[in-house]
Structure formats: C-alpha cells, structure tokens
Amino acid sequence: MLGDSLTAGLGLPPNEAYPALLGVRLREEGYDWEVVNAGVSGDTSGDGRQRVGWALEGDVRILIVALGANDGLRGLPVGQMKENLQIIIDRARQRGIPVLLAGMEAPPNYGDQYTKEYREVFSDLARRNKVEFVPFLLEGVAGDPRLNQPDGLHPTGAGAAHIADHLWPTVEKMLKK
C-alpha cells in the first residue's frame, strides 16, 4: 500500500492504521496474504513516484495507491499530480501488478475550480488505465469529528476501521481474480 500519513496511520498505534486492519481482515477471511504498509507521512504524489521502485521490490501481488492528499492540502498543481500517479501506475503494470487507485478530495478552501480539476484527475486516470478505483478514500470519514483526530485531518482508530471496510469489497474482488 503506497500512501501518505493516512496510510501510515499518523497519530495511531501501528496496529490501528487501516492497512493493518485490512491485514487482519485478510487473515480472518482465510487469505494467506501480508499487507505491507508503505505509507510515509507528508508524502506527495511526487515522493510516491520516487519510491515506487523501492516499494515494489519483493513479491508484491497487488498495489494500492492512496496518494494525493498532501498535493491537495498544499494546493500543488493538479497536472503534476496526474503525471506522477500515471508513472506509478505504469511501473506497477510493467511488473504485471494490478493496481487499486484510491481517490481523494481537495479541501474546498481552494475554490471550486481547483477541487473540480483535482477530483477529475483520479477518475480520469482510473478510466484511462482501466484500474480498480475507489473514488474517495475517506468516504464517510472526512469531516466527521467522531472519526477524526483533533487535527481534523487524520482518522482515529474508528475512522481507520471505516476506511478498511470501505476498501474491502474492492480488495476482495481483486483477490478473487
């Protein structure tokens, strides 16, 4: 799972981040798979692009890409983000690794135009590359004070559980293939 602080589980014990919860779910459902958390706090899509090679070494079967939140928080140009994510998808494909792309939303303070362009990057990439797609990683979690830490950005344990549940159907579909 290539991601940022949301994936790394910033502010949470390591076993409460959503990748760890997905790992537990995998074992419970009888899949003998291991989840590798390659989330790094503060990473933008550009950082992800740099380290995708490192992350894909080893026996990687599925790559979940959950990047872009920091690009959005910092208002980085969307074109650049699109390019970076495309390269990450390309790398995985060269190795024959199926990709799950998790989308993100930019915070509304950047204005309608930016948030719209930002949102379209993910749906565009998913359509063009025909990869599995979850439109919004934080669906049902973002903005809910009960599911987020006091900073209003990072999910709590309960929030992480929500994310894991939200991703599970798509992940399971990929496992079955």
């Binding site: 740099q50 380290r51 208002g75």
Partner: protein, 838 residues
C-alpha cells in the same frame, strides 16, 4: 518632642562635614536603585511591545475548527468584562489565486496564497507597512480591495491595480505588503499573503464544510489583566480545540527568550537593591557607632533612654530620607545624560525616564535600611549604664526581644520591598539563597581569617603585625568589610557571568548565518542541478543538501516482546525524520561512542535518556515499509538552536540509504534582503524545480532578530551599569569605615609611627580582607551563575574562570587602594588635631 527635634538638629549641625560624606554614600546606593530600576522598566516596556508585535495582540485565540455555538458569545462576554479590552477577528486560509479574466490573457495560472481576512483595527501592535510607504488603513481593503505580498505579483505577472480572482470573488490589488506584524510564527508558509476585508470573505464562497480555515481572535487587554484572562479563556476553550496564547507564552521560542531576558532584568534589579542596601547599612552603622559617646554623655546629664533613642533614630531617619532624595536627584541626572546612541536600538527608540515605582522603591529602601541598621544598635542603648559607656566597656550580650522583633519587622518590610516587581519567584529565591548562604560563609571566613593569621602576629615587620592584630581587635571591621565586599563582588561577578552567558545564547540564535530559505522535497535527481542553480544564483554560499527519510522505530533487538515493551513508551514508535552522512555537523558533538559506519546508527542524547537505549543495542526501524536493523554506536548532542545543518534524532552512517528512495532538504542563506529579489529567486526555483517547496523565513527571522537586538542591548546596558554603580557603592561603603580608624591612626602617630608605616599597615589589612572577600565572592558568583542559568534562565552554564580570577585580583587591589586613599587625610593630618576633634 520639641527637645528631641531640636537636639537632633543641633547634633546634625555640629558634624556637618562628616554628614555630607554619609549623604553621598546613601545617595549613590539609592540613586543606583532608582536609575537602574527605571531603565529596566523602560527597556521592559519596549521589549514587551516588540514581543506583542509578533502576534499583533496581547492574547491570540486560534482554532482550525468552526466556532462552536456559543463560543463567540463567550469570548465576547469575557473580553467585555475587562475594562478597556478590545478584540478583532481574523480568518486565515490557504486558497488559490488567479488573475481575473479581464486582466487580459493571463488566465489559467493559479497559485496557492495564504488569504487573511481582517477587521478594522488590525493590527493592535506593530505596523503593517506597504512598499510604497503609504500608511496602512483598513479603507484600502474596503469594496473588494486586497493587499498582497510582492511574490504573488511576480508569480502571476500582475501589477498594483490589476484584479485577482479568489474563489467566486474578484479583488483589486491596492498595494504591496512589505511587512506584516503578527504573521504566524509557525514558519510553514504555503504561499504569499493576500489581505482582504473580513466582511468580504464570505463572498468568495470558500468557507464551506470541510474547508481548512484558521479562525483567530486578536485581543488587546490592559497589561495587568492579560494573564488572568488568558488563563480563564484557556480553561474554557481548550476542550473546544481553541489555542489560547498570550504574547509572553512560553510555548514559542521567542516567548521563552523574552522570559529569560525579563528574569535577568529582575535579577539585576534585585541585585542592585541589595547592593544599594549594603551601602546604606554600612553608612548607618558607622554613623550610629560614632554617636555612642554622645549618648553616654547625654545619659549622664539626665537624658532618658526614650529621649535619646528618639533623637538618634530621628537623625538616622533624616539621614536616610535626605540621602534617598539626593539619590533620586542623582538618578535623574544620570538618566538625563545617557548618551543618545543608547536610546536607539535598531529602529526602536527607548525613552528612559524615572518611573514612579522605581523612585518609591529606592526611597523606601534607603529609609528602611537606615532605620533597620540604626534602630537595632540604638535599642541596645536602653540597657546601657552611662558609666559603662564612658569607660568604653562592652556590656555582656543578652538576648533582647525588642531588638529582635524590631529587626524582624523592618527586615520583613525590606524583603517585601526588594521583591516587589521581581517578576520571577525562582530568581528571587536563588538570589536570596545565595545572599544568605554567602553571608554565612563570609562570617565563618572572617573567623577563619583571624584564626589562620595568628602566626603572623609574631611577624617581625611592624605593619604586618599590627594589620593582623587589627583583624581581631575588639570592635574590628573584619566581618563588616568581608560582608560588604564579598557580597558586592558576588553580585557584580554573578551578574557579569550571566550577562555573558545570555548574550552568547542570543548570538547563536540571531547569527547572520542562520539560513532563511528552506528548500524541501528535493528529489535525488535534482540534487546536482539544484547545486548548480544555487551556486549560480547565490555565489559564495555552499548549499548543504541533507538527505532525509521517514522511519519508525519498531523494536529494540529483534524480539517481539521488546517491541511490545517499546509500545508502552509511546513516542518512540512515532515517525522520525532520519538522515545518513559521513561525519558530525558543526552543530553536533559526540557525547559517547563513535560516529556510525554504514548500516549503523547514532542517537541523540534525549533519545538515550528518554528511552534508556545504550551503545551496542540493536534497534529495528521500519524504513518505508522495510525492516532495517542497526547497531547503536554512539550518542550525539545536537545544538537545536543552531539551524544551519538541521537536527536529527537518528543519524545513520554514510551511504546507508543511498539506494532507498528519499529526498533532500536544503537550508540556504539567501544573500539578499530585498523582497523583490527574493521573490524572483523563489519564483525561478519553483519554475525550474516545480516539486520543490520553498519556505521563506526571512520576515520571521527578522522580527525575531529585532526583539533579540533589543534584548541584547538591554542586557548589555543594564549589566554594565550595574557593574559601574556596584563598584561605586563598594568604594563608598569601604571608604566610610575610615572613620573608625581616625582615632587610632592619631595615637599610632603620636607614638611615633610614620605615615608610611601607617599606609603599609592599612594596605596589608585591607588587602587581606579584599582578597579573601573577592575570592569568596567569585566562588559564590560561580554558584549563583550555575543555579540561575540552570533553574531560572534555562541556558547552558559556561564558567569563565579567568574572568573570575581577574575580578578577584581587581577586587583586592581596589579595596587596598580605597583603604589607603580614604584614610589619606588622616595620615597627613597632625595627630593632635585629630585627638582634639575626637
């Protein structure tokens, strides 16, 4: 009563010339208190004004969540409960700005800006300055006006007068901001500032659910109400995630240093009070002693104890009050002649003037000390029979309740007065502890000195023999001079040592070398092009590119149990920024072990202390999803305040993560202060390396530097003044002891001693006392420096031993010289004249 007053006046008239000298000594002591206290108060005033401009308010409330229902009303109610308090709201959010369509053909480019919407009245402190020099007024923002930083104009290719689109609204750029007070000190900036009117923020449509917005309330509150209001709001609002801080908040680095400076100033204030008190007490003591004979005579002719007591107490009191008043006049003169360049600290003008509280304190201390040191010996007079006094016999000491009660009462009043305005309890306590401790030591040292010099009483050199005998004679002045000089040296050297320590500390922080541009997110393949770019644009600066990775500690050793154990230690399992390199940086020192080889790791001191990790332990890290084991080979100390090469908790050996994906950060010192040049540099950097973020700290650093400038000068001026006046006080206090030896000098001369012999005798006596007092004082000063540095100022303690040695030598020479010079007239005068006068 009439008799008392008349006698007091008659007595005073008789000893007029001698009294002048007493007056001068008291006046110097009191004058020093008044002048220094006044200066400290003026400087403090300037300091706090500067500290306030850093947040543009006295109290700042901020939250990154929407206000909860009732919260704005609660704040309004609390603020209006304080008379004279004001508040304004400010909202900050990062957003996108683009040139408005009609600004022909420049559409499309959008840049991140930090939008701030303010209400009229902003800022409470400091001045918002515009590049063209026009004064800022809120009217500039009315009807969709905006003020912007120059970087934005460069980035969007706009000019003043053009329109910029933010959200759903368009604003006309009315001016260019060159300096904005109260800019967040958190240092991380996403983009240039755009300032608009608070009322027009909602027109942008950006304040919707999920927006990342920081809402602030700036409060202006009368000084005396700040702390109470801040505490009150804190307790009410903390559960709602509202951050409350006052300008003197310790959480900010600057607040901490401000507090250090304040502590230092109050310490110096206290010290000068004690020194002044010593001067006054020394004078009063001698004064009363000389009156003993007259007292005996008055008792013989029928004066009652009560009458006599009243006469002399009145005299002492008049001495104290008049001396103090003269002291205030001296202080006024001293302050008036302060050279003009000391008033100018950078761009800030300090106006020095006598403050009412300083005058009150000075006069109060002058009078009370005179009272204390006159009353206690005078009370003894009640029990003394006239005949005993006439025969120069000393009465057996008996415990006298009244004497003790009087001393305790006046003493308590004194302590109360001395600690008045000494802002910090810690400082007050350490000074008092030092004071008491040293008094005891000096008293014991006096006894030790008389005991140790006993063999010298058989010295064949007459002056030596006599000098040593003087030390132990009845009515000797050993302990008095030791106390005066020892305490004086103690305080002067202590203040000096702290001054040096504090200034070192500040110099490190305001060093011109401090990097002011931080480049982050530099990718590996950009390192060389960036180096070339920086060498081209900033010739002469060596760019220091530091590789950084994020890592999490997952265990010590490789066993799982230990990892569980670590989890309990919380903090260690958080993510750390790590680096790798071949050696120590200038801001690091090796505390233990050695620098790591590739694959090994060095930890910072605090990690070792907090998590009890020792050299040789194997730590397990999770580096970007991979497990890495590394042996701890050494412990480093990082000077966190020196930001030139960053600071890292974990440093790996050279090349450890060469193959791992990571990025670089580069602290850079841009060689230009010109805002437009900097904007161009930043712009070119970002165009060339679009993923690199540039954080410009110049403005913040400058604001901080300005405050440090004031602090530095304040400490320098005040410290130097204390040394000068302290020296003067010592001279007075020692010189006054000459009156005790006038009589015996005359007798020695009658018996055939030459002036030269007398001078040699005085030199040995005062020299011995001065050396001992200076040495003890300087040891005490070292202890005081250590205690105050460590517990009150929180700075590293670096003893300047050679300075202490020099000061000790200077002290003994000084005391020796004073002893001889002060008695010069006695030595020159014919003995008969003295004998008759006495």
């Amino acid at each position: 009563m009439r008799f008392v007053v008349l006698t007091a006046i008659r007595e005073t008239r008789a000893a007029w010339t001698r009294l002048v000298f007493f007056f001068v000594c008291i006046a110097i002591g009191v004058g020093a208190i008044v002048a220094l206290r006044s200066i400290i108060q003026s400087v403090r005033q300037v300091l706090s004004t500067e500290a306030k401009t850093l947040i543009a308010a006295d109290i700042l409330l901020s939250t990154d969540r929407p206000w909860q229902p009732g919260t704005p009303e609660l704040i309004a109610a609390r603020v209006s409960a304080v008379p004279g308090a004001q508040r304004i709201a400010s909202t900050e959010l990062p957003t996108m700005a683009r040139p408005a369509e009609e600004s022909a053909g420049k559409g499309g480019v959008a840049r991140v800006v930090e939008l701030r919407a303010v209400q009229p009245g902003f800022p409470f402190y400091g001045q918002l300055t515009l590049q063209d020099g026009r004064p800022y007024s809120h009217d500039l923002l009315k009807d969709k006006g905006a003020l912007v930083r120059p970087e934005l104009l460069a980035q969007l290719g706009l000019r003043v007068g053009d329109r910029v689109a933010i959200g759903k609204a368009q604003f006309t750029i009315r001016g260019v901001i060159s300096n904005e007070p109260g800019r967040s000190l958190s240092a991380f900036s996403l983009g240039p500032r755009v300032l608009i009117d608070d009322q027009e923020l909602s027109d942008t449509g950006l304040l919707t659910f999920g927006s990342r917005v920081v809402r602030q309330e700036l409060l202006r509150v009368p000084e005396s109400a700040i702390d109470a209001l801040a505490r009150d709001l804190q307790s009410k609002l903390q559960p709602q995630f509202v951050r409350v801080r006052s300008y003197r908040d310790r959480q900010e680095q600057i607040g901490e240093d401000f507090e250090r400076a304040e502590n230092y100033l109050s310490l110096v204030g206290l010290v000068i009070v004690v020194l002044g008190g010593i001067a006054v007490s020394s004078v009063t003591r001698v004064f009363v002693r000389q009156k003993i004979k007259s007292i005996a005579i008055m008792k013989c002719v029928g004066g009652t104890s009560r009458q006599i007591f009243a006469v002399y107490l009145l005299q002492a009191l008049a001495l104290g009050v008049l001396g103090s008043v003269i002291g205030v006049a001296l202080a006024a003169i001293a302050i008036a002649v302060i050279p003009a360049d000391m008033n100018q600290i950078g761009t800030i003008t300090v106006t020095y003037g006598l403050t009412r509280s300083a005058v009150a304190q000075g006069v109060g201390i002058g009078t009370l000390v005179a009272l204390l040191f006159a009353m206690v010996p005078l009370l003894e007079v009640r029990r003394v029979k006239p005949s005993l006094l006439l025969r120069h016999e000393t009465s057996g000491r008996r415990f006298d309740w009244l004497q003790w009660i009087a001393a305790a009462l006046v003493g308590a009043a004194l302590v109360r007065l001395a600690t008045w305005q000494a802002a910090s309890l810690v400082v007050g306590l350490s000074v008092c502890a030092g004071f008491i401790g040293l008094t005891v030591i000096l008293y014991l040292a006096g006894m030790a000195l008389t005991w140790m010099t006993r063999p010298l009483t058989r010295s064949s050199w007459f002056p030596m023999r006599q000098a040593v005998l003087h030390l132990r004679r009845p009515g000797n002045q050993t302990s008095v001079i030791l106390l005066t000089v020892g305490l004086g040296a103690f305080f002067i050297m202590g203040v000096r040592g702290l001054q040096v320590g504090l200034l070192n500390q500040f110099a490190m922080q305001i060093g011109e070398e401090t990097p002011d541009l931080f480049l982050v997110d530099i990718q590996k393949d950009q390192v060389d092009p960036l180096r070339v770019f920086l060498a081209d644009r900033l010739p002469g600066t060596e760019a220091n590119l530091l590789p950084v990775l994020r890592a999490r500690v997952t265990g010590r050793g490789v066993s799982f149990e230990e990892m569980e154990d670590l989890k309990g230690r919380g903090m260690l399992s958080r993510e750390y920024t790590i680096t790798y390199r071949g050696g120590l940086e200038p801001n690091e020192t090796l505390v233990a072990g050695r620098f790591p080889n590739p694959g090994e790791v060095s930890i910072e001191e605090s990690i070792r202390q907090r998590f009890n990790i020792s050299i040789g332990d194997v730590m397990r890290f999770d580096v970007l999803g991979r497990s890495v084991n590394a042996t701890v080979t050494g412990v480093r100390h990082v000077e966190w305040r020196d930001g030139r090469s960053g600071g890292f908790m974990f440093v790996f050996g050279a090349g450890t993560f060469e193959s791992a994906p990571h990025w670089f950060i580069a602290p850079v010192k841009a060689n230009t202060a010109n805002a437009a040049d900097r904007a161009r540099l930043t712009h070119d950097l970002v165009v060339r390396f679009p993923n690199v973020s540039v954080i410009d700290l110049r403005e913040i650093l400058q604001a901080v530097r300005k405050v440090f400038g004031v602090v530095t000068v304040a400490i320098d001026v005040v410290g130097t003044l204390v040394i000068l006046t302290g020296g003067l006080i010592l001279v007075g206090a020692v010189a006054v002891t000459k009156f005790q030896r006038v009589y015996e000098a005359a007798i020695f001369k009658t018996l055939g001693a030459s002036s030269r012999t007398m001078a040699a005798m005085l030199m040995v006596e005062y020299g011995l006392l001065g050396t001992l007092a200076g040495a003890i004082g300087s040891f005490g000063a070292l202890a005081l420096g250590w205690g105050v540095s460590r517990y009150a100022l929180d700075i590293p303690w670096r003893p300047a031993l050679h300075e202490n040695v020099i000061s000790t030598v200077v002290t003994s020479l000084l005391i020796m010289t004073i002893g001889v010079v002060a008695s010069a007239d006695v030595l020159r005068r014919k003995p008969l004249a003295t004998l008759r006068a006495e």
